[in-house]
């Protein structure tokens, strides 16, 4: 059997969640918006999921908007905030500030939304490890366009490619001390599995999460609204999710997400920390000319990003795949070739003479997997050199 180290792309579904979903599909159906017993049962499951997540994250249950996943949540956070500009005379959002290493769901949508609403779109620079430069953020926050203009800031909890953890508490403090009406959106799609999610929620106005990165079903996520920020809908229809996201609810998906959040919060973080430490030290001692692109202490426990000298990424991935080790390199272009990564460019390591591979862990990762991965990486690297 193969070794799967691409959980940052998607995790296999946890067995408990699979059982839950399977049993719900057997016994339950019903549109929670209808008026009969089937609907009531569905609503019970949906509200139960909402309440469960709210309890786990210490928020009001009305502050969870179920979506189709991380990308939709990110889009809704940005569009849903900025769209208020059309309804109000003052305190409009004038600037969107995003880090240069955000996921495309934030980078590309903020560019589009900025264009549509004629806003200033500014990039917050990062250091060589991909951490947002908070001084630069402060400077950008202090640039005023008018007395009551607000700024929308979007910085992820941890990076999807290199694993770097962002100083989200400090960012939140700076965003709010510049103007308490500023909005901080945190894309926690990757970070939710590895960082303290309740703490992220407590230090943000808006948080995006996605179920399948946590071992839940694909196609469901949530935008968590913590700061009382009004969110206008980008999908308009029957007015579900308190008029913020129309469309018949994915009731069973929501239940799956709730269980995924619960199991994630119960995860033994020490176990993964140790796994990663051993994996990295084995790799560095056994494979020559390999190093961590970002030091372990700055990245999440679920991800290792390697720079492999004198090897080509596509070739290394090809051989890893042949040896049944699933890893990833850069971000895949829609054509399937490996596109130059904006993240690596932002941290100044987009060197064409090296391979870059991301190995990401999840709930099913074992020490046996990682030991196997070390010897496969060693063999494949030797073959190419």
């Amino acid at each position: 059997m193969g070794i799967y180290l691409d959980h940052a792309a998607t995790s296999p579904i946890r067995p408990e969640i699979k059982d839950l979903i399977a049993s719900l599909y057997e016994s339950e159906f019903g549109n929670p918006s209808s008026q009969h017993s089937y609907a009531r049962k569905a609503r019970e499951i949906l509200d139960g999921a909402r309440e469960q997540i709210a309890g786990l994250l210490n928020i009001n249950y009305g502050n969870i908007i179920f979506t189709s996943g991380g990308t939709e949540s990110d889009n809704l956070a940005l569009y849903g905030s900025v769209r208020n500009n059309l309804n109000q005379e003052s305190a409009k959002i004038s600037d969107i500030l995003v880090s240069s290493v955000e996921h495309r769901a934030v980078l590309n949508s903020s560019a589009e939304i900025g264009k549509i609403f004629n806003l200033n779109l500014k990039k917050i620079p990062v250091d060589f490890n991909g951490r947002v430069q908070t001084d630069a953020l402060e400077e950008l926050l202090s640039q005023n366009n008018g007395s009551d203009d607000r700024k929308l800031v979007s910085v992820m909890a941890s990076n999807n490619e290199i694993g770097t953890v962002q100083p989200f508490r400090e960012i939140f403090d700076k965003v709010k001390s510049a103007n308490e009406n500023n909005i901080y959106h945190c894309d926690a799609v990757q970070g939710a599995g590895w960082l303290n999610l309740p703490e992220i929620v407590a230090n943000s106005d808006l948080v995006s999460i996605s179920s399948h990165k946590l071992g839940g079903p694909v196609g469901v996520g949530a935008l968590i609204v913590n700061g009382g920020q009004k969110i206008m809908p980008q999908i308009i229809g029957g007015g579900q999710e308190r008029q913020r996201r129309s469309g018949t609810n994915d009731v069973i998906g929501a239940a799956g997400l709730a269980m995924a959040v619960k199991l994630t919060l119960e995860k033994d973080h020490e176990y993964f920390k140790k796994l990663k430490q051993k994996f990295v030290s084995d790799l560095l001692s056994q494979v020559p000319d390999v190093f961590e692109t970002v030091p372990s202490e700055l990245s999440v426990d679920g991800m290792v990003h390697l720079t492999v000298k004198n090897v080509n990424s596509e070739e290394l991935l090809f051989l890893l795949d042949e040896s049944d080790l699933a890893a990833s390199a850069g971000s895949a272009c829609s054509s399937g070739s490996i596109a130059p990564s904006h993240v690596l460019q932002a941290i100044g390591v987009a060197d064409s003479g090296s391979a870059f591979i991301r190995l990401s862990f999840g709930w099913s990762t074992t020490e046996v997997d990682l030991n196997g991965a070390v010897s496969i990486i060693k063999n494949c690297t030797e073959k190419l050199r």
Binding site: E314, E315, F318, C333, S334, S335, S337
Partner: protein, 353 residues
């Protein structure tokens, strides 16, 4: 049990390479499809050539092989696009397909395939590999001479022939489409690609080059009388022997471009006889056999679909035509064939006509 040969098939997303992969798979080889991502700019097939890659992937799935995309965007720019532009800037007529085969498909792709454990690469080119009694391999024209593509392959290194397969070399094009239809491949009726892949059909060479180099006006001059007949917008786009776009007929005779003089910014035209020469000079020779002897009788071909011309090869870098021929634009590739017009002996770049 010996393992079957592992072959990487270059799949462009067209019908020829689709059938190539299918045939090799049927013959029991361990086949993987590889689509090269070469061009980073705009193309007629969309961003990243997504639709062609998708077609190749779809076909690969249909015939039951793995499919990979290998990116050589920077290398393509360096080895094919930039030299193409520079060549035009020198008023030459380059052939980017020859350079792409030489540097990308039959060098970078082949070397990568080798590193990744493949025994050979195959493409859907209409050409053949033939072997002599000593098992020595030669590049040769395809059986379907109308479709023959040995000319665009004539720049590859003889060292790589060991690792190349051209399974369509014995087929007629119509047969290839028939096979594709029988196998229900979605590329069965896809039209053949015609033009330079990195140039949009809408803007053409002119728009492409105008963004990279200055395009200069030139006078159209009668080569016999020195009379100025008009003006042409982009001298860099004019090729020797061209009639199109010059549009002048004089003395009841067709007129051809017989000379392009960048210094005096003149495009000189005249009747066919002024275009004829008895020899051409060449440089950058690439041989696909061990050697060609001085004064050896050979056949040459000077464009992708040009006719075979009888000639004599001179080691000093000259081809003497048996009978007068139209001039050949510098930058063009001249491919050498044996007198049977079957084996490719090599090729070179024309430096002067």
């Amino acid at each position: 049990m010996s393992r079957s040969l592992k072959i990487a098939v270059g799949m462009s997303g067209g019908v020829d390479s689709s059938v190539t992969a299918a045939l090799l798979k049927q013959e029991g080889y361990d086949v993987a499809g590889v689509t090269l991502k070469l061009w980073g700019g705009q193309s007629d097939s969309g961003c990243c050539s997504v639709s062609d890659v998708e077609d190749a992937r779809f076909v690969a799935k249909k015939i039951g092989i793995n499919h990979h995309v290998w990116g050589f965007v920077e290398e393509f720019e360096e080895k094919v696009v930039a030299p193409y532009v520079e060549s035009h800037a020198r008023n030459e007529t380059p052939n980017p397909c020859v350079e792409c085969n030489r540097h990308l498909k039959f060098d970078l792709m082949l070397q990568r395939a080798k590193r990744l454990g493949f025994d050979a690469i195959a493409t859907g080119h209409y050409a053949r590999i033939i072997t002599d009694e000593n098992k020595k391999r030669y590049l040769a024209r395809s059986a379907d001479t109308k479709k023959d593509q040995s000319y665009v392959l004539s720049g590859i290194s003889k060292d790589v022939l060991e690792m190349c397969l051209f399974p369509l070399g014995d087929f007629e094009k119509s047969k290839v489409r028939q096979i594709a239809t029988e196998l229900d491949l979605l590329t069965a009726n896809k039209p053949d690609s015609q033009d330079v892949c990195f140039i949009l059909a809408t803007g053409g060479r002119k728009e492409f080059l105008s963004k990279k180099i200055p395009l200069n006006k030139a006078q159209i001059v009668d080569d016999g009388t020195d009379e100025i007949l008009g003006e042409i917008e982009a001298m860099e786009l004019v090729t020797l022997g061209q009639r199109r776009e010059i549009g002048i007929s004089r003395y009841g005779q067709r007129q051809y471009v017989v000379n392009v003089n960048p210094k005096s910014q003149q495009v000189r035209i005249g009747p066919l006889e002024r275009l004829l020469v008895d020899e051409i000079r060449f440089g950058d020779e690439n041989l696909l056999i061990d050697s060609i002897t001085d004064k050896q009788k050979i056949i040459v071909q000077v464009s992708a679909h040009g006719k075979p011309i009888k000639a004599t090869y001179l080691k000093e870098g000259k081809i003497l035509f048996d009978s007068s021929q139209r001039k050949v634009a510098p930058g063009q590739i001249v491919a050498f064939y044996d007198t049977d017009n079957v084996r490719v002996l090599g090729s070179a770049t024309v430096v002067s006509h």
